[in-house]
Structure formats: C-alpha cells, structure tokens
Amino acid sequence: MAMEATTAYGFLTDATLCIGCKACEVACKQWNQLPADDGPDGPCALTGFSYDNTVDLGATTWRHVAFIERREPGGIAWLMLSDVCKHCVHAGCLDACPTGAIVRTEFDTVVIQDDICNGCGYCVPACPFGVPQIDHADGGSHKCTLCYDRLLGGLMPACAKACPTESIRFGVVDELREAGRERVAALRAEGRSDIHFYGGEELGGTGGIAGLNAMFILNAPPDAFNLPARPRLPRANIRPAALAALAASAGFLIAAAMTFRGES
C-alpha cells in the first residue's frame, strides 16, 4: 500500500486483543536497529516484578508491552498493552524543541531528526507521556518515528506488521478513531466493564493536546498502564508563567526606580 503525504497516519492499539507476546518490541528493535535496554543491573537485567523487562518507553525501546498481573476472586487476571509514542496532534516535545530537530512529517507523525538534535533534553520532561529520552550512548533524544522510513517505502510500521492478533492496527487516523469508538461500544454492549477509548478529547488527548494519532483501547483505567487520564500540553503554561514574570518585573522596576529616586 502506498502512503499518501498530507494524510494523518497512526495506530490503534487494543489492549483487549494483546497477548503480551512482545513481537512488536522485537520487530521495532530489529527494524530500527535498537540495542537491548540497560537495566539497573546492567544490560538485559530482569525486573522480577512482571513479565516485563523493558519497563517503559525510552531511548532504545519505542514499543513497550506493559504486563500486569492482578489477583482476582477466582484466580489471576492478566492485563497487557503495547505502549508507544502517541504522535500527539499538539505535541509537547515538538513545542519544546529549540533546534527544530523535532518535526511534524507529511504523515502527521512527530519525528526527531537525529542529525539536528543537540541533546539539550528539553523534549524529555516536556512530554506528558514520558516518551522521548536521551540515549546515554549517543547523546541524542530518541523515540518512535512511526517507522517514517517504512512509510516512505509504502510499508506499514514494523510493530503493526509483526502483531499476530491485530492488537496493533496501523492506518489513517480518522478511520482508526472511528473503528476504535465502534470497538469500545461493541465491547461495552457485550457487558465488558472498564473499557476506555484513550486518545480523544475526553481521555488522553486532553488539556490542549487535541487528540492522539496513536490511540488505545484500554480494559482498565489508564493509570493502570501508567497512562495519565487527563494530561496537559506543557505549552499552555507559557502564557501564565510569562505574564506573571512580566508583572513581577514591573513590580521590581517600580521598586528600583523608587529606591534610586531623589538624587541629582
């Protein structure tokens, strides 16, 4: 399939279909030539708390499968979700980048140009989802590119290609959003409780973010997967902070002028 420039492409990742196989993590690492993670005890350390040894998204993990074991009446329940960069409609990392390394592509995805990034690290805390991270080896900030190179070649992202259950769907954002909402309605009609669409204006795409191009269907509250329910776009703080600093400056200007007055 050929990708059309100026069309918004994204993911719909469905936790109700995920089997926790981590094929997406592996395919992502293989295609993007990402090394194994360094854990607290060196490379490839085991966490011991879950069938999850990559722990979170980071410089060398662009798909992360969360794996939650819950004790329930009558046994154990498993929750699994493949997390990824949200490719926000209004992206905190893109807002923060001072070098222009982070760009919005013709596919409406958010990509860090590695040959521009100078490792200032501002995009790291500017992401409300904890996605980009500085790689200690090369000093640059890295995250999912939604396989920009594959899209250019007419291929779907590696993770979606590798997913055996179609838990990760790749496609046109508008179509995926509609499919996601239909799926949520269908699951709720089946009587499934705690089904959420994450990535719209009511959950995930809130506070000025205006929606996510990588959306999710969740079968637990967002925070169970470490997703903030109502994140805010950091840029929204610039105006109040700058205005308050300006007002304080005016106060000090007057105070200083009064102090230095009365001399000739």
């Binding site: 329930e72 109502r230 102090t259 230095f260």
Partner: protein, 326 residues
Amino acid sequence: MSRVSDSETTAPDSDTIPRGYYGVPVIHRPHWKWLVIAYFFFGGIAGATAAIGGIARLMGGRRNASIARVAAYLSLATLIPCPPLLILDLRRPGRFLNMLRVVNPTSPMSIGSWGLAVFGAITTASALLQALADMPGRERDGDDTLARAQRALAPLSAGGGFFIAGYTGVILSATAVPLWSKRPALLAPLFLASAMASGSASITLAAAIIGDGARGAERVHDLEAMASVAEAVLLFAWIASLGSTAKPLLEGRDGTVVRHGVVGAGTLAPLVAAAMSRSRRGRARRALTIVGSAAALVGGFALRYVVIAGGHASADDPQATFDITG
C-alpha cells in the same frame, strides 16, 4: 484477559491504593543537574544586575552612576560562565549552534537562547562603555557621547536583564513535571524574585569589598531586602498552593535545604544582618554587609538547587503525576 473486578477499578483512593504500573515513573525526568543549576544562578545574577544597573543609569545622578558601574561589570562577569555551562550540559555539545538554527515561539528554551545571545551583546557593550568611561582622564573630559551611549543602552540592559532573570522559570513551567508545572504563575515570579535578590546581593557584596569606589551601591541594600521578602513570600505561596505536589520540598535532604538554605541563609540571614548593620559603622558594618550578601547568594543557589532536585523527585513519583492529571 478476563474481566477486571470492580473492587479493584472503581475510583481507588489515592491515599490507600497506589495507582500506576509497579511504581514506574509516568514521565521522564530531564538530565539537567549541576551545570544547569549553576547557569540558573549565574544567569539570574547577570540578568538582575543588568536590570538594576540599567534602572540606576536611567534615574541619573552620581551615586546611581556608581551602582550602574558596578552592575555593568558584575553582569558581564557573571554572564561569561553561562554559555560554557549551557554548552557542556548538552549531550552533544558540538552542536550548540543548532540552538540558533530556528526560532520556535512555543519553546521557552529557543526564545531564551536567542534572548541570551542578544543579552550577551548588550551586556558586553555595556561593560565596554563602562570601561571606556573608567579610563584615566575620562572623567574630566565630560564625554557627552559616551554618557549618551550609556543612557541609550540602559533600557536595553534593563529589559534584557529582566528577561534573562525570568525566562528560566518559564522553561521549567512548560514541562510535564508536576512540581514545575502545577503553579506556573508562582514559579516564574519566584525565580525572578530570587534572581533580583541574588543580583542586588552581589552588587552590595562587591561594593562592600571595593569600599569607597562604590559608595552609591549602599542604596541597593533596600532593593535587596525587598527582593528577599518577595522571594520568601512567593516561596511560601508556591509551596502552600502546591499541596501534595510540594512533598519533595518538605521532606528529607531537600527539605533541609529549603529550610536552612533558602529561608535561613537566603532570607533571614540577610535581613538580620541588615537590621544589625543599621546601628553600626565602618568595619563592623562592612563585615555585616559581606556576611548578609554572601548568605543571600547561598540562598539563591539553594533555591535553584532544590527546584531542580525537587523536580527530579517529582518526575520520578508516578502519584505526583496522577495527582495533576487525574
């Protein structure tokens, strides 16, 4: 996956059932540490001294000119370490010029980089003009051109100075770190007030060390006291308004730094020293000034430190993030 029971999913009380994923942070902390803390400290002083000097110059008079003179040199001296500190903090320092590759109006760091470049030119020009004015024999010449140039530069110094003193608080506010982003309208003025306190303290410190040559700088004492009080009030207001998000500032080692460093050394010590020096003259007064101003500078550094260190702790605490995004 089977159904999740209601007991585990209905609105858990955040005090009893921790939300989240095995305690893993929701957001990533920045790598910024000592180099950035030092930049915030020196940059704040460079900005504040330029602002104070610029205003003193505009107000005219011989004693104000003495303030402006000390300020012009201090501003350049404290600005010089700033670019190296910022460049070394980059994980790819060789690409520091990429900071001036684009203008990104939604990035306080981009606007700040351009502002710093312009401010560097203003401050350098201001110090150079001052050096020209201080050349032997210059005073009797009554060089009007030089005086006019200094007066023309003064508003730029003042404006640029306030910008440099204040924009760092805006940088921190425009992140997802709970401690930094929850009360932007208090954090940014707090940084500005702290910069003004440190800047005026460095002027009074320099004047006390220089002695006769900077007599007019005495007047900056009043400004220093005002800035110290403003800083303390804003700090209390900020911490009080943060609620549970203020936790990193109240507990452990960072809590000690807030109490003894920011409040004790930064606010109380200079005010006590100022009160004691009123009834004294000569060496005793000078010694009290030096102690009070040095304590204020320690407090200014402590504030920058705890805000950065507290931000790291805040970013690492998933509950703090859930509390502001729930």
